[in-house]
Structure formats: C-alpha cells, structure tokens
C-alpha cells in the first residue's frame, strides 16, 4: 500500500547538509517506492530501502541507456551522455568497461600504493608549512586525487586549473545553466581531442594511451566513445574522490572520539574508510536516474514503461533493516555492506583506487599532523555545494 500524498520535490533539503534528510527515514517506513518531482518538473519513482535499491541496480529492465534518450525524464541539466560508459547498458557497457577493467583491479591499484603515498607526503608537507588555518579541501583533499588520476590517465598536470574549472561546471555542483554545461563539456572534449592526437603521434602506456590503442588498433570503441570515456575518467575520477575525501576528513574532525581511536589503532583505517563512505553525503541525491524499458513492479508499486526510477544510495546506506543504529558514525562497524559505489554493472570503476587513496590520505594526515588537529570554525559555518549531482564541501579550514 502506498501513501497517497502530494509528490515531494527531490533532492530533499538536508537539515544540516551532512546528515541524511529526514524524508528518507519517513519514506523507508511509509512509502518505500515514492513518487517525487525533480528540479526539471519531471516525475520519478524514488527507492529508499536497501533491498529495493540493490535489486533495482541489478535489474536490466531499469535502463541507463533509455535515460539518455532525448525525451527521457531528466534530473537536471547534466547527464553523462549516451556515448559514455555511465549512459550505456550491456553489451555496449561491458565492451567499454572491459577495456579498462584491468587497470582498476585490486592488484593493479595496490601497485600504485608507493606512488600515492609519495604524493600524499608531498601534499601534507604543503599543509604543514601553510599559514593556519589551512584549507584541507584545496591543499589536500582536492590536490591528491587530481594528481593521481592525471598521472594514471596521462593528462599533463600543467593544465589542472582549466580542467578542474570545466569539470566543476560539468558536475553542476553550483547549479549551472544547460548552456554553461554544454560549453564546459565542449571545452574539455576539445582539450582531450588534442591530447588524443598527440597520443597518436607519440604512443604512451598510460590509460589514455591504452584507450587510443584500443580505438586505433582494435576498433574496440568509436572516436566519440573514446573522447567521452576519457572525459568521464578524468572528471569523475577526481571529483568524486576529492569530494568524498574532503567530506571524510570533515566527518572525522566532527567526531573527535573516532579520530582519536584511529590515532591509537591505525589498523582500523580501512574499515573507517568504509564507514566514511557509508556516511558520505555525496550520494544523497541517489544514483543516475534509470528508465523502465517495460512495465514492472517494485514492492507493491507498478512502474510503467518509460517512467524514471532513482535508487537512493544515501538512503539505503542508512536503512535500519541492514545497519544497526544507522545514523551513528562508527569506524568499527562490521560488516559494512554500504552501497556508496553503487551496485551491479555500473559499480564504480575506480572503487579500489578511491579506497586506497582515502586510506593513504587518512593515514598520512594522522601520522604527520599534530594530534591537536581540529576544525578552525564551527561545523555549521562551513559552506557546502549542494548541486544536483552531489553534495560536497567548498572548504575545510583546520588548525592545530
């Protein structure tokens, strides 16, 4: 039985930005498959229970490709695009994913550990010599993931300022117009097109070089797919990690007892990263919207072909059916089956890399910065970007 009420606007406003919106709990209890109105005025079904969210993410009838159709319901001005890995279903999705899977497996990523540790050490030295308060967001959380993904892809770090500015617009964190998003996308694609031409003249063994090789030698993807893939790897690769890392550092500073626990027992860091990911407000808006390719039923709700479905990862991560005392932040929580990286074929390609970067960043910060480390301002004075795609900190001033 679903509760008949006016369709609420989604994404929900959060009470204090870093805690899950109250509506999630209410909907999980009373209307787990709820009709919501999106910023575009389009309607969607919002799934808030863990079990429904996970089931939807492995359901081939809920299509990402159909959500990229010109007349499909829209969340806002930005969609990844039909030629990106995020906008595809099997078998196109599997074909593209296979090209880079090997670069992102647990073993491959582990091999990057020494280099990431070195980069973290370089960044933390900047933090240590900077005048206090230091903005951990710009000096640490943002710069580390950018350096890692640029190196992995083979994008020159000299161009970081332009590329970062464009990807901020593409992620639409500040609520940009459709026109601005299109322009930024054009700029980034133009940049990558040039870089790809240089790879053709001088082949490299970085990730971009591998994709160019797959295009030119194996005809395994089209030129447009190649460009879009490079764009997604670069933008998502640094934006999601940087924003998740920044929020993770904030969450720990906001729970000093938990931070203290990690100082005493650094072996808890990998588990703490999982809990930080579960708590990550980055996913409060849900996943990319999916469109039903046939009539189907979720719970007791009938969903018609062509209708939009949003699986809320943030709500699933706080489902009391799965997580005891779900709103408590507990770095020792185990098991921790959060869905922050998604689930199913679109499970985050960079999950292992993001985990490793967060683990190293935390450990380096804890080891190198004095244990008097604290937020330099009240938590409720911090500014958050609350655009459509994600929720993240603008800055994180700390002192010690």
């Amino acid at each position: 039985m679903s509760i008949d009420e006016a369709t609420p606007a989604f994404p929900f406003p959060a009470p204090d930005t870093f805690e899950p919106p109250e509506e999630f709990r209410r909907l999980r209890e009373r209307a787990p498959v709820a009709r919501v109105t999106l910023p575009t005025g389009d309607q969607a079904w919002l799934l808030t229970r863990y079990a429904d969210v996970r089931a939807a993410l492995v359901d081939p009838r809920l299509s990402r490709a159909a959500a990229e159709a010109p007349d499909a319901p829209r969340m806002g001005n930005t969609t990844p695009g039909p030629k990106t890995i995020l906008g595809m279903d099997a078998p196109d999705h599997s074909r593209l994913r296979r090209l880079v899977t090997q670069a992102f497996t647990a073993r491959r990523v582990e091999a990057l550990r020494p280099r990431i540790e070195q980069l973290a050490e370089e960044q933390i030295r900047l933090v240590l010599v900077a005048p206090r308060p230091v903005d951990l967001m710009s000096c640490y959380a943002l710069s580390l993931p950018i350096k890692v993904i640029f190196e992995l892809l083979g994008v020159p770090y000299d161009d970081v300022d332009r590329l970062h500015a464009w990807s901020e617009v593409i992620f639409s964190l500040g609520g940009h117009t459709a026109e601005e998003v299109r322009e930024a996308r054009g700029a980034i694609t133009g940049y990558l097109r040039e870089l790809i031409e240089r790879r053709r003249a001088e082949p490299t063994d970085d990730l971009l070089g591998v994709l160019v090789h797959a295009r030119d030698e194996g005809q395994r993807l089209s030129e447009e797919e190649l460009l879009d893939f490079a764009m997604i790897l670069m933008t998502v690769g640094h934006q999601s990690t940087a924003n998740s890392l920044g929020t993770a550092l904030f969450t720990l500073l906001h729970h000093p007892d938990q931070l203290e626990l990690l100082r005493k027992k650094p072996e808890l860091i990998p588990g703490a990263v999982e809990e930080l990911l579960r708590f990550n407000p980055f996913v409060f808006t849900g996943t990319q919207l999916r469109v039903a390719t046939e009539d189907l039923t979720i719970g007791e709700t009938e969903i018609r072909k062509g209708e939009a479905v949003i699986a809320s990862l943030g709500s699933a991560n706080h489902d009391e059916e799965v997580f005891a005392d779900p709103d408590r932040f507990d770095v020792e929580r185990t098991p921790n089956v959060h869905l922050s990286f998604g689930y199913g074929i679109h499970h985050c390609l960079g999950a292992q890399l993001a985990r490793l970067e967060m683990q190293i960043a935390l450990r380096t910060l804890i080891e190198r910065v004095p244990d008097t480390l604290k937020l330099a301002v009240r938590a409720d004075w911090l500014t958050w970007k609350t655009g459509l795609t994600a929720r993240a900190l603008v800055n994180l001033p700390v002192t010690w």
Partner: protein, 88 residues
C-alpha cells in the same frame, strides 16, 4: 561426462554486484549480502570467463574439474582485448 567447471567466490569479494547483475543465472546474493557462486559444477560457458575478468576484486576463479587447473581466457582473445599492457 563432458568438461565441467567449478566456480569459486573468494573472501576478497568486495560486493560490487557486477557478477550478480551480469550473470544472474550463476551468481546470487544471500541474506548475509554474500555473493554465492553456483552450488555445484557447471558446464563450460565463456560468459563465466567474462564475469571473472570483470570482477574488480579478482575474487572469482574457475577451475576445470578434469584437469584441476584454473580456467583462463584463451591467449588470443586476451591479447585482442588490448588491456594487458596497461602500466598505470
């Protein structure tokens, strides 16, 4: 009796759900959120090789029950994938 494979999901499984989405005939998720392989031996199927290769945790292995050796993609196909030389 033809050739048969055993499918194993190792403890390194990070629950990406990729196998359960890609090959629901073979992989299921139980109430503990653990990924389960088929209970018994299965007939050889190239789809299983694809799924094993797609696992980001490299947690899925296939064993040829006749030879007792791990099943891997044919060399030709692996080279054709063009991903072996990645040195990030």
């Amino acid at each position: 009796m033809g050739e048969q494979w055993r499918v194993t999901v190792h403890k390194t499984c990070r629950r990406s759900g990729i196998c359960a989405a890609q090959a629901p005939r073979y992989f299921s998720v139980d109430d503990d959120h653990r990924t389960r392989p088929p209970a018994g031996p299965v007939a050889p199927d190239p789809e299983l090789i694809d799924v094993a290769e797609a696992c980001p945790a490299e947690a899925i292995t296939l064993t040829d029950l006749v030879t007792g050796r791990p099943v891997t993609a044919p060399a030709e196909s692996a080279a054709g994938r063009g991903t072996r030389e990645v040195r990030p």
